[in-house]
């Protein structure tokens, strides 16, 4: 195996519920602390204890943060999945396993190296408490790895110190376990391995955080006071993060009074109802859920759209349909969210691709929801939400004011003349609203999901209904102007081919762009950050012969939305898809694009032949 620095993949195979998660995190975080770009991904079952779980860590000095295929080093501590794990190591790679038990002959491959470390045996000898034995077995392999790939032991020890601050005996036990692993490697193997780490300090200022924490924190900064939610993987930790930061920063330390209310609802329908009721009454409220929850919330989302009540929903997407693969990632809720509910509806979607964007877009979603008086859905996914990602640090400007939208107060109501709740007075399609309790005799109105006129009076007059539906389209056009614009990767087009992507396909798409270039295929790129699409998206499509639409679902839903919303030729939009539940890889993107272009060329060739 050729030498390589800071460019490899380690995968850990564990049994869930055995404390491996924190050991694996320790490993990834220590690499992060060495200033080397690192991407850890949890691959876990829908189960609490006893089933196989994997943790994959990609190290990439070039800063490619997407997933890549090909495992250089497998750390196998799960006999259940060992056969599968041996197979997944790439030729010339390494397989570390717990050699307390002898490796079955059938698992010996000629083309990989074996590193047997008797983790359980060493742990049993060193520690007497059964629980400790179990947990510290994991730390032993971290120690072994440190020696094998030059992971700085000082960084690991510092992290252990931070994690167990004030618990000296635990810190000491961890140090012992680390040393056991290191000493074993020293005594038994050649080290370091051909691939290894080297401190780079490339990550100055960056943070390592998951998207759900970022969304929860974004909601705190965005001024959400009410959260209603129902537990569902992979969104639950959004609620947990919101609660954590609210407890910390919104609770009066003396009286215990709270400037927030969190309700675990009886189901997703109720959660959305609470969000709508709160927003209607002038608080900023939100929910977090996943696809099945959005399905249940459909009726309420339509109500909020039609009655024009702000609402924020964070959809941490997972593989569907139905219960699907609840612990696997996908981007399968785009159509569901964009056109949620019966009747003619369209909803604003925000599409974050990093934790920083999760933070910013969640905070911004409250401004957009109140400005546009409509539901805003922040579309993240399991990969972004539950895995740690390297991110730019979060930023906030203390001068920033919340945009509470068009709301009339008591004094303004005195001067506006007749108040028309659904009257578009200034042409942006957004009428003024009032909060309940504002004025004793002015500004009260009846909110309803039935048709009404400009003054909120019930009507079945077709003309009034149509005026209202048309005004909602004017509002939609306003939305296009104020949602985040797409990011263009080039000032001027360089190629007749473009790639278009969003959300968690971003890192792999950026890497694929470089890989294609290595094969002399130049592509322009655009990353969309919101729905509805701005003018720049249409312009990008118009000015390219082919646009590869990269997304993580079977039905190319984003491509469909582009066909629906923009006057584009569907034949120009080529789907590049990944929907096996694992995050999309750069290789998959590169291969699909390359094959398509080769095929097209061949077809052209044959066509010209036949024409001749």
């Amino acid at each position: 195996m050729s030498q390589s620095i800071n460019d490899f993949i380690v995968r850990f195979a564990n049994v869930n519920g055995t404390g491996s998660a924190s050991a694996n995190y320790l490993f990834a975080k220590a690499i992060f602390r060495m200033g080397i770009p690192v991407t850890p991904k949890n691959i876990f079952p829908s189960n609490i204890q006893g089933l196989p779980t994997w943790y994959e860590v990609r190290v990439s000095e070039k800063g490619y943060l997407g997933r890549r295929e090909g495992i250089d080093l497998m750390v196998s501590v799960n006999p259940q999945s060992m056969a599968q794990d041996v197979k997944s190591v790439k030729s010339g790679g390494y397989f570390m396993y717990d050699s307390t038990k002898k490796l079955p002959e059938t698992l010996v491959r000629e083309d990989i190296h074996y590193l047997g470390v008797p983790m359980m045996e060493m742990s049993n000898q060193a520690f007497s408490d059964p629980r400790k034995r179990q947990l510290l077995k994991n730390i032993i392999y971290v120690g072994a790895l440190a020696k094998l790939i030059n992971l700085e032991i000082e960084e690991i020890e510092k992290l252990v110190g931070e994690q167990f601050e004030g618990k000296a005996s635990l810190i000491e036990a961890n140090h012992i376990a680390l040393k056991l692993g290191m000493d074993f490697v020293e005594a038994n193997f050649d080290f370091p391995l051909p691939f290894r780490l080297e401190r780079k300090n490339l990550l100055k200022g960056k943070i390592l955080i998951d998207g759900n924490t970022a969304c929860g924190l974004g909601a705190v900064y965005g001024g959400a006071t009410v959260m209603a939610w129902y537990p569902i993987t992979p969104s639950t930790s959004v609620a947990e993060a919101f609660e954590h930061y609210c407890e910390e920063y919104r609770t009066d330390p003396e009286t215990g009074e709270k400037k927030f209310a969190i309700i675990q609802a009886e189901d997703e329908l109720a959660a959305m109802g609470m969000v709508i009721g709160s927003n209607w009454n002038g608080a900023r409220a939100f929910t977090a859920t996943s696809g099945p929850g959005v399905s249940l919330m459909n009726e309420f989302i339509g109500l909020a759209y039609f009655a024009e009540v702000p609402a924020v929903l964070v959809d941490v997407q997972r593989a569907g349909p139905s219960t699907g693969m609840p612990t696997r990632t996908q981007q399968p809720d785009l159509m569901l969210a964009a056109y949620a509910s019966h009747g003619d509806t369209k909803h604003v979607l925000l599409l974050p691709s990093t934790p920083k964007e999760c933070f910013e877009m969640t905070a911004q979603s409250f401004d957009l929801a109140e400005r546009l008086q409509t539901p805003i859905m922040v579309m993240t996914d399991l990969d972004l939400g539950m895995n740690d990602h390297i991110s730019e640090p979060f930023e906030w400007n203390d001068k920033r004011k919340y945009d509470r939208g068009k709301v009339l107060n008591a004094e303004e109501l005195e001067h506006v003349g007749r108040f028309g709740r659904y009257l578009d007075v200034d042409g942006d399609g957004i009428p003024f609203r009032t909060y309940p309790g504002t004025h004793p005799t002015k500004g009260a109105f009846f909110t309803r999901g039935t048709s009404r006129d400009e003054y909120a009076a019930y009507t079945e007059d077709g003309a009034a209904y149509k005026r209202n539906m048309d005004r909602l389209m004017v509002k939609w056009k306003t939305a296009k102007k104020i949602v985040p614009s797409a990011k263009l990767y080039q000032k001027k087009n360089q190629s007749p081919y473009g790639i278009l992507f969003f959300g968690t396909s971003t890192f792999s798409s950026e890497e694929a762009k470089d890989l294609l270039l290595q094969n002399d295929i130049v592509v322009d790129a655009i990353r969309i950050k919101a729905f509805p699409f701005g003018a720049e998206v249409l312009e990008f499509i118009k000015t390219h012969e082919l646009v590869f639409v990269i997304e993580q679902n079977r039905d190319a839903q984003m491509r469909s939305m582009m066909m629906i919303e923009m006057e584009t030729n569907p034949a120009k939009l080529i789907p590049v898809l990944n929907y096996d539940g694992m995050p999309i890889t750069a290789d998959a993107i590169k291969n699909q694009i390359t094959i398509y272009l080769q095929q097209t060329k061949n077809l052209d060739h044959e066509l010209s032949k036949t024409t001749v």
Binding site: G205, K206, L208, I209, L217, V220, Y221, G223, T225, V226, A228, Y245, Y249, R250, D252, G256, E257, K258, K259, F260, A261, I263, A265, E266, D267, L269, A270, A271, G273, M274, V275, I276, G277, S278, W280, N281, G282, A283, A285, F300, L303, F394, E395, W396, D398, R400, Y435, P436, G437, H439, P440, T441, A444, F445, F446, T447, R448, G449, A457, T459
Partner: protein, 350 residues
């Protein structure tokens, strides 16, 4: 379509303590069928709010879908209303209440809305003890879709079309008590004398107040054979008590026979005075109330009055320890931890 009422106001209309006449509490003309029990309940709500001298705009009225849920249009025209989706009024009311604890919340629902499609939300709003008045206008049928049986239709009850309901009825008042609702009353739309003080007491009660009002459907469920018809209800009604609601502590009326009367003090010092008609019934004893309801059911009677009251339980705001200022009045300064703290949070993730 609802119609505006004439604006004419008699100059000598009496005013309440805050200077409003009853007109300020009314809404547009109802479009429900003439003689609908629901309109009488709306009138009782108007009367109760007027007598309680509550600022009309400090009340919010929230409903689901159905004939009953239409009624908030027809009362309290100066209050914000929200006609939400079928069976989901409790969640919308919960959200609204979380935003602003300083308002009175009227939830209006029907038997289809609460006992069928919205049963889950009905159960859970009780479990959380949301501070609201929850009125079910109970007519035993789906009026707006032309008279199908609802889940509160009594077994054996005969519909206008002649079919007999084979299923057991869900008794919402018993269920509410079983679930721990701290204020449960039952009344009849035709009995304004009883209903108005019940609504007043419910408004003052801090916590969930449930009022199940039998309200005959004149069009689809007022035939012989229906147990929710005017005639049937009038013949089978039995009051647990007469009651009076006294908003201020000192004015304790003594017109009742002391031996039979019970006083219940509410959180704000107001008093509910109950003059007991039923023997062996104690409004503060759940077991006794459940027993009385079951006894009445055996006799095919409808027990009315304030059935149960408990002022001890924390309402949802109390449980969640929300601050005194309504959440919808908080600003950036109260809510956003700011740049410096964010920098600290960033540091924790390095």
């Amino acid at each position: 379509m609802s119609y505006l009422k004439p604006q004419f106001k008699h100059p000598k209309l009496p005013k309440n303590k805050i200077g409003y006449t009853i007109k300020e509490y009314e809404g547009p003309l109802s479009t429900l069928c003439a003689g609908c029990g629901h309109d009488s309940i709306s009138a009782a709500i108007v009367q109760a709010c007027f007598e309680m001298s509550v600022e009309p705009h400090k009340v919010a009225k929230i409903s689901g879908i159905g004939c009953s849920s239409k009624t908030p249009t027809y009362f309290l025209g100066n209050s914000h209303g929200f006609n939400s989706v079928h069976g989901r009024m409790p969640s919308v009311a919960t959200g609204a209440s979380m935003s602003n604890k300083d308002m009175v919340y009227f939830g209006v629902s029907g038997d289809g809305d609460s006992a069928s499609i919205g049963m889950g939300q009905f159960v859970h709003v009780i479990r959380r003890n949301l501070n609201m008045v929850y009125i079910v206008m109970n007519n035993g049928c789906y009026g707006l879709t032309k008279g199908q049986d609802s889940a509160t239709a009594d077994q054996g009850s005969k519909s206008k079309a002649g079919s007999v309901n084979p299923f057991q009825a869900i008794d919402l008042a018993s269920l509410a008590i079983e679930l721990g609702a701290p204020f449960v009353a039952q009344s009849f739309s035709g009995d304004k004398q009883q209903l108005v003080p019940i609504i007043k007491a419910a408004m003052h009660h801090k916590g969930f107040a449930f009022i199940n009002v039998i309200s005959p459907c004149v069009t689809f469920n007022n035939n012989a054979g229906s147990t929710k018809s005017y005639d049937y209800v009038r013949q089978h009604i039995e009051a647990t008590s007469t009651l009076d609601f006294v908003p201020e502590m000192p004015i304790i009326t003594t017109k009742y026979d002391q031996g039979k009367s019970t006083k219940v003090a509410l959180h704000d010092g107001s008093i509910i005075q109950l003059n007991k008609l039923a023997t062996d019934w104690d409004p503060e004893d759940r077991v006794s109330v459940v027993n009385a309801l079951q006894q009445a059911r055996l006799k095919n009677e409808i027990l009315t009055g304030l059935l149960y009251v408990n002022t001890e339980w924390n309402d949802l705001h109390g449980t969640l320890k929300t601050c005194k200022t309504p959440l919808n009045k908080l600003t950036e300064k109260d809510l956003c931890p700011g740049e410096e703290i964010l920098e600290g949070i960033n540091r924790n993730f390095r």
